[in-house]
Symmetry: C2
Subunit: 566 residues, 2 copies
């Protein structure tokens, strides 16, 4: 395969180790045409090798010798994943003068911190093919996994060539859009296949407010406790083990962060229109510090809560394996692991497992709902950014400014009490003591302020983080649904132009209907947990605020009494 060249469309300044800066119009050599979660690896004009955002460059192709002739059509072949940079819909192509958003850093940090991250640099079972860690170096061989599985790539089971015959409704092989990657396109075109057992069936029902996932009849939750430092290889390797206790089994299992990470990758691969909650970010250093462990545990608790709340995710085999497989039975664990990695009902084939109510949805109505939700997520994302900024600053001010001001007032009262103590008049003693106590009170209030964010603001910040994760999932989910709708419209047009028979159109309509049902059910679920979580967390926040102000008031009342007896 000859060296691929690309030209930078915008300036990009590297901000992290492993990234390289590129200048607009600079030419680069790509090491692979395939991006890694929105990042290309390549060498810039100065000979420096590293990562840069795929959406910041266009691939330069000569018409001859290209590996993928169809890709030359568009001229630009930005391989980025994000919904914002896919040029599938005309709307997205409008403003090309400003650079697109960078790919999310949580995933890009997989690569950057890899070598120093024990979570990845250890005894991971590499024999099981697709389960390995993403890796810059190994990725270019084409077999490396990425978090989003490319279900159109060759060699995945028997979802071969069926349905291709329709000719004019072509696959968008020139773009790795989410629609293509997720398997949505393959499914709509009838290319997906797989053996779906009754137990695999996922039901969408018609609820009061529209399509809903059928509730898990055996709901459960799962506690995450006792993060404990473990060592192996006689202490050379260390890791943190978490105790997971599902309420339905009451049998604890012990898992490491890398197990969560592996599970997360499986789930993302399997469920194209389900918003899999993000696991807490990786971190290179300080992984054994108490603060970090506590923060990560909280993140995992949130993640677990969203997993067990989800009617589909909570029931799925790989999650059940994760929750129930005896940690000490290595063989059983590996078996389940291999089984999950070989699961055929992922991506395109996942849609085969969905059963919908008989009456199809009105396409126009679905389109309206999806558009509405898209506007909603955009606004919610903006406002979460806003709240996050305000709350973080508020928390910072508690620890710095507020505390400082109350401390300063306390210290000034202390100096007054000390000055007054120079006067040994007996009738002044009570006052002196009361002022000294007031000084202590104000110092205590300063400390109360500094302690408070832990109790009230931090949980709000955690809530925001979880929902920012979900919101970053939705552009892809919406994209899959929109891709299906577009396919339906294209097919309709082709049929009207008499280029296509009616029969494949019906199949396309039906399959698009399934995607629409699933998407709307997922959106409904999102709204339900959103209302639940924000209600719970706002209540918790206000309760904590009330306790805080009551504590301050109580302390002041106690202080006032010192003057009553002074």
């Amino acid at each position: 395969m000859m060296a691929l060249r690309a030209k930078a469309l915008y300036d990009f300044d590297s901000e992290n180790p492993g990234e390289i800066s590129v200048k607009k119009n600079e030419e680069l050599t790509l090491h692979s045409e395939r991006d890694i979660e929105g990042w290309f690896e390549g060498t810039n004009a100065r000979g420096v090798r590293g990562l840069f955002p795929a959406s910041y460059v266009e691939i330069l192709r000569t018409s001859a010798g290209s590996d993928n002739p169809e890709a030359a059509h568009g001229g630009v072949a930005a391989g980025s994943y994000g919904a914002s940079s896919t040029s599938q819909t005309p709307v997205d192509q409008s403003a090309k003068t400003t650079p697109p958003k960078l790919p999310a850093h949580p995933t890009s940090s997989h690569h950057k911190y890899q070598s120093s991250d024990d979570d990845w640099d250890d005894d991971w079972d590499e024999s099981s093919g697709g389960g390995g860690a993403p890796s810059v170096g190994r990725h270019s061989d084409g077999n490396g996994p990425s978090i989003y599985s490319l279900s159109t790539s060759a060699g995945r089971g028997p979802n071969a060539q069926q349905g291709r015959g329709s000719g004019t409704v072509s696959r968008n092989l020139n773009r790795f859009t989410t629609f293509v990657k997720s398997g949505g396109e393959a499914f709509v075109l009838g290319e997906a296949s797989g053996f779906v057992k009754d137990g695999d069936k996922i039901c969408v029902i018609m609820g009061q407010y529209g399509p809903e996932w059928q509730e898990n009849p055996y709901p459960f939750t799962c506690a995450i406790d006792d993060p404990t430092k473990q060592t192996k290889f006689k202490g050379i390797k260390s890791y943190i083990s978490y105790k997971l206790t599902p309420t339905n089994t009451q049998s604890p299992v012990y898992r490491r962060y890398k197990h969560f990470d592996w599970l997360y990758a499986r789930l993302v691969e399997k469920f194209p229109v389900i918003s899999v909650p993000h696991i807490p970010e990786k971190q290179a250093t300080g992984r054994f510090e108490e603060d970090f462990i506590s923060k990560r545990r909280k993140g995992l608790v949130w993640w677990m809560n969203h997993m067990t709340s989800h009617p589909i995710l909570s029931k799925c085999d790989v999650f059940q394996h994760f929750l129930t497989c005896d940690s000490s039975d290595e063989k059983a664990w590996k078996q389940g692991k291999r089984k999950a990695e070989k699961d055929e009902l992922v991506g395109a084939s996942f849609f085969l497992t969905i059963s919908t109510p008989p009456a199809p949805l009105d396409l126009q109505e679905v389109e309206g709902k999806i558009e509405g939700f898209k506007a909603f997520t955009k606004k919610m994302d903006e406002s979460l950014l806003h709240v996050n900024g305000a709350i973080n600053e508020f928390a910072r001010k508690h620890v710095t400014g507020f505390k400082k001001e109350y401390l300063r007032v306390g210290q000034s009262f202390k100096s007054l009490a000390q000055a007054f103590e120079i006067d040994q008049q007996p009738f002044s003693a009570g006052l002196n003591h009361a002022i000294a106590y007031t000084a202590e009170t104000y110092e205590a209030i300063g400390d109360y302020f500094a302690e408070q964010p832990k109790h009230d603001l931090d949980p709000i910040i955690d809530l925001i983080t979880v929902y920012q994760g979900h919101l970053s999932n939705y552009p892809d989910i919406i994209h899959v649904q929109k891709g299906a709708l577009t396919k339906v419209k294209e097919s309709q047009k082709h049929m009207e132009d008499s280029k296509m028979d009616r029969s494949p159109l019906e199949g396309i309509n039906e399959r698009c209907n399934i995607i629409s049902f699933a998407t709307l059910a997922e959106i409904h679920h999102f709204h339900q947990i959103r209302v639940r979580d924000f209600k719970d967390q706002m209540r918790h926040y206000l309760q904590q605020q009330i306790s805080f102000f009551q504590k301050v008031t109580g302390r002041l009342e106690e202080t006032l009494q010192k003057f009553d007896t002074a």
Copy 2:
């Protein structure tokens, strides 16, 4: 009188109109040898005329032609008043490398803002000699008044030359020390005389904790209300009139700021060892703005409270005239005014009115107590500065930082509520409304913070101002007492050296004893009102703080309820 020259000892940068900057070593021409409350008027090397701190320069004298040969002794003749710059005690002379503190601005502003200050530029009755306003222009003629009366200057009644014959115990004519100015020296030397009626008698008694002023048997307070803008000369002149209602007469009188100012000058002149509370500062502009009027009224209320609390001040004739003379009876007012200005029992003669318990005080013990009080005032002054800084900053933070933080959080919640309202799901409506209400709550809490200093911190700031005024009085009071003690020691030594008879020493001892009794009584009174005022104000402060935090808590509880029904 030939032009006096002075040389600057330190750099001084003018900060107000009327002042001139001087450079170290710059030579200046003085317009008068006499300073005006710590400021000299003169012309600098660049020919600019204006005021500068007397303590920043030394007067250059030629041995011949000096108006006051004795003044040449010291070489430096800084005419400033402040206790810190009097070089009577060796301790004060130590650190001359840093410039002394500037004279207080309240009084210096008398001059600077005079021409535009209606308080002084109006229908004041100038016929009564000493009652006029301090004035730069008129001051150098030697007849102009200053707030501290120079009771040693010629022409004040019959307190002539008696007792001078003792020869060796000479008067400190070369320095206008407080001891000299207050009349303390004249009194100790037996030079004071005056006709003291029984009604003029001021009693010091022996209380539980030492000498005390005899309580006013008819205590009263006096309300200050209804600051009202009045005009005269058909509206050309405007002023604010305050309604004063003493509780003992219940007859309101109406007084202007200039009446308070005149009264204040009389009291300071009359009572050498009594700490006369300072009246609120003069202000050149904005005198008719609501904030200023309210602030001045509060200052006058504090002043009045300290006046009526004082056993001696509350009873004295000039204050009673001020409180009771019918405002509309111009003739009666002028009569009382002239009488007060002709009062003979001021300064040195004031001490004649004091009657003490029969047993004299132990000089050593008095000295110890005075030293202790001096240390106390120094420490209290420092700590008030500390508290004032902290409290002012705290108040500023309430209005700026604290408010801003709560507002910002409120606004971010508002943006979240707005984002959530895009979702028209009925099950979300209650939450959206509750979050919107939370947004309003946080904006309201921000406003509560901004409103709060008015209720709790401002009164503390007022308290501090009043006590800073008292503390600035005490160096002079202590100085008078110390001057008397020094005179006693000098006389003792002279007697031991056989330079003096025993008989004048006894008189000196007796008169020093009177000053000591009066000083200790005043110190005791200070401690009493200090304990009373700080207890009251700290209680008030804490009560207001409690109300504030309760209000915040109540509002949060109300907000939490919105989520209960959401």
